[in-house]
């Protein structure tokens, strides 16, 4: 099997070929780097390549296969990480110039250690909004990530480099982070799969913080199986992250193929069917129909939940950067600087009110899961918008593009629910919108099973850019 034939393949297929001795990790790496060098200038997904490390990791995998040993479930799989993850020997820039003054990371983020420990080959670092504070990956220092489906449009954010790299077939797997939607928004508008497990499920140790009580890590990929594969490798307790669940987590890949017949699937109504493009409704209704879901439920107070998420984010986010806001605020990206300053100035009463509302809202939403297992909702209200555009028209309203992209994701991260995003192509539409499959806390398996079922019926599918 030629290495070129594996470009664009899933991580599952690549690992099988490498473990089976049909392809060499080093050959695939060479082909991958050549493809990145050819395509990346047009999409600006990778901001740095880690070629030396990648060559060493690929050589190690090949040596193990040659010696009859198993390199692990990600054998030879090229992957990239958002530039928010620590990578040993690299400075974690977090999309900023300020962090250039920091020393290189002394070790990998825990989940990066686990991916490479399973045979993964880290090829580079991916573009993002500065300090993850955005939904569009428009970065004033490093340029915007461009959407592979339409280079004039945003790849979504803040993990836009991760989504663009996967959508363009540069790597089958990338890590992003999600505080308000930063995995789900770019997955939606780049037409790929994204997975944000339950808050506290995957370690965040060695990941530069944005808003600590909302920060999640997770994968973006080209199939549901690949999301589960990456999750299975990354799961497990981590004493370096005080939020990470201390109990072991079950593997999901083997169980996700089970029949979804018993899964009770509801469709989100109210807020999630308002202020959106027709295509987003078509995505929702097409998936619901394919799954035989007819029951609509309303997530209560979703608009207020989005407001609470905004308040908590801006205040927690500002606290991370207080010293630099005092001493060198001119070095921040102008797109985020004034939002951080406003967050620094916000009264404590706003924050505590938001955290108290958060508890009330959590209790109400969790009660919904007594009568259903998953809830379907659009991931974004619209297709990707043109880069650097300030305002957009939606349902007759003029709305700010950068904030509006998170309309359907923010109310859900607020309470840490596990969510899978799948691409649902609509005939005749060039630009993607994804579907959120929302499960109860710690029930990632329910969301993955539904995602898998949608793939099997062909409703969820990757469309070539």
């Amino acid at each position: 099997m030629s290495a070129e034939s594996l470009l664009g393949a899933t991580a599952t297929d690549i690992a099988a070929a490498v473990r089976g001795g049909e392809a060499r990790a080093s050959d695939l790496l060479d082909a991958t780097l050549a493809r990145i060098e050819a395509v990346n200038p047009s999409i600006n997904a990778f901001t740095a390549l880690t070629k030396d490390r990648a060559r060493a990791e690929a050589a190690k995998v090949d040596a193990m296969v040659a010696a009859g040993k198993d390199p692990g479930p990600l054998a030879g799989v090229p992957y990239g990480v958002k530039n928010l993850y620590d990578v040993e020997g690299e400075v974690t820039l977090a999309g900023s110039v300020i962090n250039r003054d920091n020393p290189p990371a002394s070790r990998d983020a825990t989940v990066v250690e686990r991916l490479s420990g399973a045979g993964g080959v880290l090829v580079g670092l991916l573009n993002m909004d500065e300090y993850a504070y955005g939904f569009t990956t428009e970065n004033s220092h490093y340029g915007a990530a461009r959407n592979p489906h339409d280079l004039e449009r945003s790849a979504g954010g803040s993990s836009g480099g991760s989504a663009a790299a996967v959508a363009a077939g540069l790597v089958p797997l990338a890590l992003g982070t999600d505080t308000n939607g930063s995995i789900r928004v770019p997955a939606s508008v780049c037409g790929i799969h994204g997975f944000k497990p339950t808050y506290g499920r995957l370690s965040r140790a060695g990941v530069f913080p944005f808003a600590a009580s909302l920060d999640h890590t997770g994968p973006l990929a080209r199939s549901t199986a690949d999301l589960a594969l990456a999750y299975d490798v990354m799961r497990g307790p981590d004493p370096r992250d005080p939020v990470c669940r201390t109990k072991p987590s079950d593997a999901l890949l083997e169980d996700m193929g089970d029949n979804v017949g018993a899964t009770r699937i509801a469709i989100s109504g109210g807020y999630f069917r308002e202020t959106l493009e027709d295509q987003a409704l078509t995505v929702l209704d097409t998936a619901a129909q394919a799954l035989g879901a007819t029951r609509t439920i309303e997530i209560p107070e979703a608009a207020r939940a989005r407001a609470a998420a905004f308040v908590i984010t801006t205040i927690e986010g500002a606290s991370v950067h207080m010293a630099n806001l005092r001493s060198r605020k001119q070095d921040f990206d102008p797109l985020i600087r004034d939002r951080l300053i406003a967050g620094a100035m916000a009264p404590a009463a706003w924050y505590t009110a938001a955290q108290r509302f958060r508890r009330w809202y959590r209790d109400r939403v969790l009660a919904l899961f007594e009568d259903c297992d998953v809830i379907l909702a659009p991931a974004t209200p619209c297709v990707p918008q043109p880069l650097w555009q300030e305002m957009m028209s939606l349902d007759g309203q003029q709305l700010p593009v950068r904030a509006t992209m998170g309309r359907f994701t923010q109310p859900l991260t607020l309470i840490g629910l596990p969510i899978v995003v799948v691409p649902v192509p609509v005939a005749g539409q060039r630009h993607p919108i994804g579907l959120q499959i929302i499960a109860a806390p710690w029930r990632e398996i329910d969301a993955l099973r539904v995602a898998r079922a949608l793939e099997e019926t062909g409703v969820a599918a990757i469309k070539a850019p």
């Binding site: 107070e301 608009a303 308040v311 005092r326 004034d338 009463a349 508890r359 009330w360």
Partner: protein
């Protein structure tokens, strides 16, 4: 919550309190962001949960 509070004065005072340098020219954009935050905070502040409600998240040592 008083939604008509003087944001200009508030931002100037808080910049001084927190030690964030800010010129007159820089202030309007911060005021705009503060207004957006205040409008969203107003939605949260007008909600009155039971007084004994435990805030989220719960810290687990």
């Amino acid at each position: 919550m008083n939604e008509d509070f003087d944001l200009d004065q508030y931002v100037a005072l808080m910049a001084e309190t927190l030690g964030i340098p800010m010129t007159e020219a820089e202030r309007p954009e911060v005021i705009l962001q503060m207004r957006r935050t205040a409008d969203l905070a107003a939605q949260v502040m007008e909600f009155e949960p039971p007084q004994d409600l435990e805030p989220a998240p719960v810290f687990k040592p």
